[in-house]
């Protein structure tokens, strides 16, 4: 059963067809990798699904409801969360507060200005548990701006996970981190996604990461979907190999 589907989704930037009549589905519970060369339209597609961009035409259906015209807020309430390619955190807040804010928001408590946020033991406990899942419990009191890049990447995902989404969109969760750090980061993220039964779409350039962790791979090229299949199917897809040679060393 598909959790999300797009129907002829289109986004142009001037003459560039960033996303061109894309029909795309994500099944409940899967970990889907979205790959393609730079400019293929991966991030634009994620931006359209998350509500950062408005499509020029087409529909986005999430859990049977058309969310195409919904605001970012509406989509988050519906269960779509995301992380960003360039880490987007609240640098002047502590690591714990970054996660706690997502929990406050999820529970509709950010409207409340009549009590101290630090005096909400339930939220603080849950935030600590989320940080623990991501191995960041020792950084709880540190300002997010002071974390190392790998930790910032993890916190970015932790903030999204704290919203308890049904669909998690991860835009290059290992970009900007050393090769040595990639596998541990992906191990943590995938373990949490699986244990929390979150459906995830991951944009990734590192093919080792893609083939190791994903259930299904969608290949984009020039705004359209070039191929869609299991890692083994994609690995042996001639069209994919031909198209991506030159941009990736090998598939």
């Amino acid at each position: 059963m598909s959790l999300l589907s797009t129907q002829r989704l289109t986004k142009y930037f001037g003459d560039t067809h960033a996303v061109d009549h894309v029909d795309f589905t994500v099944a409940q519970g899967e970990l889907l990798a979205l790959i393609g060369s730079n400019g293929a339209g991966k991030t634009t597609l994620v931006n359209l699904i998350s509500g950062l961009l408005r499509p020029d035409s087409g529909r986005i259906v999430f859990r049977g409801t058309d969310v195409t015209s919904q605001s970012v807020y509406g989509r988050i309430r519906a269960g779509i969360a995301r992380s960003f390619q360039l880490v987007n955190l609240f640098d002047q807040l502590t690591t714990l507060d970054n996660v706690a804010l997502a929990i406050f928001s999820r529970e509709g408590k950010t409207r409340n200005f009549a009590y101290l946020a630090d005096h909400d033991p339930k939220v603080r406990q849950e935030a600590k548990e989320v940080l623990q899942q991501f191995g960041l419990e020792n950084k709880a009191g540190m300002l997010a701006g002071g974390l190392a890049q790998g930790e910032r990447k993890l916190l970015d995902v932790a903030v999204a996970v704290a919203l308890r989404p049904k669909l998690l969109l991860l835009d290059e969760p290992t970009s900007g981190v050393s090769t040595r750090e990639k596998a541990p980061i992906m191990d943590i993220i995938t373990a949490i996604v699986r244990s929390e039964h979150i459906t995830a779409v991951i944009i990734e350039h590192d093919m080792d990461v893609v083939f190791k962790y994903s259930d299904r791979i969608v290949v984009m090229h020039q705004g359209t979907i070039l191929a869609d299949g299991t890692p083994d199917e994609i690995r042996t897809n001639d069209q994919v190999i031909t198209t991506l040679i030159g941009t990736q060393a090998s598939v």
Binding site: V72, Y73, R82, F90, Q92, L101, T110, N112, F113, A160
Partner: protein, 338 residues
């Protein structure tokens, strides 16, 4: 670790701890009238009242600048609205009760803040600043041109009011009234405003504002409705500033269009930056210090604006974190070196 990290971690998290730090200051503020009487200089108490009132305005202003990341150049509008609401209620409704003044000032300011905020929070950065400036100048020109209503440049007189529902009557000696009963009245409201603002900035709502300040897009993607929250912050900020204006009018005894004019907005920005807008108490300290600086600069030279300008440039260059920010930093360095 950059300087902002140092600053933020230095903000105490528990009110009791803060009260421990603030205790001596509270005692000092309580005994000021006695000391001033002892040295036969009640004017110092009145001067401090001005500082505390500007401190309330600065607290309100800093909710936007320090906590939401919005620089308003139009806070004279809300301060002036609070003051004019008091002056109008004296002239046209013959009200003498301070509580009615405050209620009227708050209502008028919230209405104006809601109207201006509805327009302004759609924009950020320089566009927000210019819009707030432009709208405040609309109020100034109305006060200036509709002189048959507002008194024009002559302004409107505001006599000393009765306090606590008439329990404390107006004294014959205005200086005694202002330096005692009215000072304590201002002081209690000041303490109330500080406590309320402390809770607001440390509440989940306050955290959401700080999130908007740090990263607007990310805030939206954790489910914070950015424009709505900015609007509420704008309203609260305006209400605090309007309350300050309502307290200021009886103290000053005269409400003129000067307090609606843009240089007054500049003063609020000045004193907030002077004290340190990245700290909670910085704007209050800036307000009190600025008030003394201005008073003595005015008495010292006719070129007082030049003097204040030079002081500001020097302070911004030498202490970009403001007075409290710099002191906090030095204190932390000292503690680390031990």
């Amino acid at each position: 670790m950059n300087q902002n990290h140092t600053l933020n971690t230095s903000i105490p998290r528990f009110p009791w701890k803060v009260l421990g730090y603030a205790g001596p200051v509270v005692v000092l503020l309580l005994v000021v009238p006695f000391v001033a009487d002892y040295v036969k200089d009640p004017y110092q108490t009145i001067l401090l009242s001005y500082g505390l009132i500007m401190g309330i305005a600065a607290l309100g202003f800093n909710l936007l600048l320090g906590y939401t990341g919005l620089l308003s150049f139009g806070h004279s509008a809300y301060f002036g609205m609070g003051a004019y609401a008091v002056a109008f209620s004296v002239k046209y409704l013959h009200v003498t009760s301070m509580e009615v003044f405050l209620a009227g000032g708050l209502v008028a300011t919230v209405v104006v803040s809601a109207l201006f905020g509805f327009v302004c929070v759609r924009y950020t950065r320089i566009f927000f600043g210019i819009l707030t400036l432009a709208l405040s100048q609309v109020l100034w020109s109305l006060a200036f041109k509709f002189f048959w209503v507002t008194g024009g440049t002559d302004g409107l007189r505001v006599p000393t009011p009765t306090l606590l529902g008439g329990m404390i009557k107006t004294s014959q000696d205005k200086v005694i009234f202002l330096s005692h009963a009215y000072y304590y009245y201002v002081l209690i409201i000041f303490f109330g405003c500080v406590a309320v603002m402390w809770v607001i900035v440390n509440s989940p709502f306050g955290k959401a504002l700080q999130a908007i300040r740090d990263n607007e897009i990310r805030a939206e993607f954790v489910g914070v409705q950015v424009r709505k929250y900015r609007f509420v912050a704008f309203l609260i900020s305006g209400a605090f500033t309007g309350l300050a204006g309502a307290l200021w009018a009886p103290l000053n005894g005269l409400t003129t269009p000067d307090i609606l004019y843009w240089p007054f907005s500049g003063e609020i920005v000045f004193l907030t930056v002077l004290g340190g807008f990245r700290t909670f108490a910085g704007p209050i300290i800036g307000a009190v210090v600025f008030n003394y600086l201005k008073t003595y600069a005015v008495g010292y030279t006719v070129y007082w604006q030049l003097l204040l300008g030079a002081v500001l440039v020097t302070l911004v260059l030498s202490m970009p974190l403001g007075i409290l920010g710099t002191v906090s930093r030095l204190w932390l360095k000292l503690r680390k070196s031990r």
